[in-house]
């Protein structure tokens, strides 16, 4: 194993030292939001380092167990921005027991650190370490409210599904190692192309991918997500919807770069998985009556769209489309979850009938939620539309490229149908919040909390701006390819 130069790990080190500092802050400060502030500061510092690395032309750098290329750097920026925003918003949540709140912020910081490790994994050990890092902090975040039955259910379901996914991944990894004699993902890729037709290798690679699919919520590994998102504190659900998915998308992109030349049918398999995932997500969301469940299943559908963009690879601009999609998804999804959290602070529930008439008591939050949901549905001129447009164009270009992948056009049609289908669940939330009259007696409680509102404003503004941010699209296409 080649040792990784320390310089490449500075973001992880900064976040790790930040976590230690946050631990000390948790012990010494009585105001537990100090922990979140220390963590947010560490995220900002690490973000500065990563942006510096990206501007410094660090790219295509693969050494040992960690690869720091354009994909990793972009994913790290996404993970750090998401962790920062979540740490700013988390102290405003009234779901957390204030005595234990500091440990929640610590776990959130740990989730961010796990995302960094996972996104840069270049061998099986780091891949598994990152996966477990994300999972273990995720379990803690899911079951955080100790005396809440739904939280307990969420935590237990997450642990059981996670353990199963982890076990399958390990089985696959052990076979990959046994068959290729190497932990290095790139070397395993060479072996795959050398013995591409070997059923054992293909099965092993497929099993090893279960962990990634679990984190990305690719069907059928998405089943945990509605229950976990509903039972977990809303900030945790927001974190699960963003951080593991960005990191897992980076891993998927890396695996494409290293493995795909080996298997000609990978593209079709990924596209089929994507279409199935988006259809399952959108159809399941139709009957839901809880805002967090709808957002969870919308996250499943969005993972499906992403898979379709990955299937287009190696067409130019495919990874750029993935990157921009994740950027838009980060903005609008975080905005939607933070808005739901602020509404929940008042209603104590994310059931649609309890959210009814929210616009009267919380007009700002409701309007931002509406903006994010409309964007998630892909209505112009918001970020969600532009992201879907870029993605669709990439898929159609891939279908017309004349390299025998004309079926991508059929996938593009499936994407369009799903985009229409996905609007209905969002409209249900909108109708509950904006149209239906609510119980005025429920006006008490809640109250404004400026940090979370600021995060909501940032997300809403990003959702608006990214809708017309064609230079960003061009930048990402140029950077990621």
């Amino acid at each position: 194993m080649i040792p990784v130069p320390v310089g490449l790990m500075i973001p992880e080190i900064v976040l790790g030292v930040g976590a230690c500092a946050a631990l000390v802050a948790e012990l010494t400060c009585s105001a537990k939001r100090r922990v979140a502030q220390v963590g947010a500061l560490a995220c900002l510092l690490a973000l500065g380092v990563v942006v510096g690395q990206a501007l410094g032309g660090l790219g295509g750098h693969a050494t040992g167990s960690l690869t720091v290329d354009a994909v990793t750097l972009a994913a790290r920026i996404g993970v750090l921005v998401a962790t920062f925003l979540l740490l700013v918003a988390a102290p405003s949540s009234q779901e957390l027991n204030h005595r234990e709140e500091g440990e929640y912020h610590l776990s959130l910081l740990g989730l961010g650190l796990g995302g960094l490790v996972f996104a840069g994994a270049a061998d099986l050990l780091t891949l598994y370490l990152g996966l477990e890092f994300l999972s273990l902090t995720g379990y803690a975040l899911a079951g955080f409210r100790p005396h809440d039955r739904h939280a307990g259910e969420a935590g237990l379901k997450y642990v059981l599904f996670g353990a199963l996914a982890s076990a399958l991944t390990l089985v696959g990894m052990s076979y990959l190692y046994g068959l290729s004699g190497s932990l290095d993902l790139a070397v395993i890729g060479e072996t795959l192309s050398y013995h591409g037709a070997s059923r054992a290798l293909a099965a092993a690679a497929l099993l090893a991918l279960v962990g990634v699919a679990f984190k990305l919520t690719i069907a059928p590994f998405h089943l945990y997500s509605p229950d976990v998102y509903q039972g977990a504190p809303t900030i945790s659900a927001a974190a699960f919807a963003v951080i593991p998915k960005i990191a897992a998308a980076a891993v998927a992109a890396h695996l494409l770069l290293w493995w795909a030349p080996a298997s000609g049918h990978a593209s079709a398999a990924i596209a089929i998985a994507g279409v199935v995932t988006m259809t399952v997500g959108n159809l399941t969301a139709l009957g839901q009556t809880n805002a967090k469940r709808i957002l969870a299943l919308s996250g499943v559908a969005h993972a499906g769209y992403l898979m379709l963009a990955l299937a287009v690879w190696p067409q130019a601009g495919a990874l750029g489309a993935v990157g921009f999609y994740l950027l838009a998804y980060l903005a609008m999804n975080l905005g939607a979850f933070v808005a739901v959290m602020l509404l929940e602070n008042r209603t104590r529930s994310s059931d649609l009938d309890r959210l009814a008439g929210s616009w009267r008591q919380q007009p700002l939050e409701s309007a931002s939620l509406a903006l994010c949901l409309v964007s998630l549905a892909g209505i112009p001129p918001l970020a969600g539309f532009t992201a879907k447009w870029v993605l669709l164009r990439s898929v159609v270009e891939g279908g017309l490229a004349g390299d025998g992948r004309g079926w991508l056009l059929a996938a593009a049609v499936a994407l369009l149908v799903n985009a229409v289908l996905s609007a209905f669940p969002y409209i249900r939330i909108l109708r509950a919040c904006l149209v239906e009259g609510g119980d005025d007696a429920a006006a008490a409680g809640g109250g404004r909390s400026s940090p979370a509102l600021a995060v909501l404003a940032v997300c809403a503004a990003a959702t608006l701006v990214l809708g017309v941010a064609w230079p960003v699209v061009a930048l990402l296409r140029g950077y990621l390819g």
Partner: protein, 146 residues
């Protein structure tokens, strides 16, 4: 690099004859356990005519008459101690193998640097230990720690 010999060996085994041996061993294992269980049952119940009475099947509580069901919450007072112990157990497993790796550096006179490198790892875990202690996780009477 991938070893072609390993690859050839692994992919050439298209037949399933190797699995026959595993199947035989598995059948032997199941048969042995079933046979011993049957033998014990036969000797005690059929030959020895040992019978079952309600007092025989009841829970043994050191000669006392059992009171109440066992389905109750047990005090998990020491599970955190167990977890922290596990962490330091793994720490030992991780630290010891680094010593041969660092041996040339120590021989070359960089002992302090090696010590600091290892200590950095241990100190991170130590911080966790201090945290657990400060939270009162090792106290028998947790009520004193609020």
């Amino acid at each position: 690099m991938a070893d072609p010999a390993i690859l050839a060996a692994s992919t050439a085994t298209a037949g399933y004859s190797d699995y026959l041996a595993i199947a035989v061993v598995g059948a032997l294992a199941i048969g042995m356990v079933a046979g011993i269980l049957w033998a014990v049952w036969f000797v005690t119940r059929v030959v020895g005519r040992i019978t079952t009475t309600p007092s025989k099947t009841s829970t043994y509580e050191c000669g006392e008459t059992p009171v109440g069901p066992a389905w109750q919450r047990f005090n998990l007072r020491f599970y955190l101690v167990a977890i922290v112990f596990l962490i330091f157990d793994v720490e030992l497993v991780l630290v010891l193998p680094t010593l041969p790796l660092f041996a040339p550096a120590i021989a070359a006179g960089h002992g302090v640097a090696v010590f600091l490198k290892i200590f950095l790892f241990v100190a991170t875990l130590l911080l966790g230990l201090v945290y657990a202690a400060a939270k009162g996780d090792f106290a028998w009477d947790k009520s004193k720690h609020g």
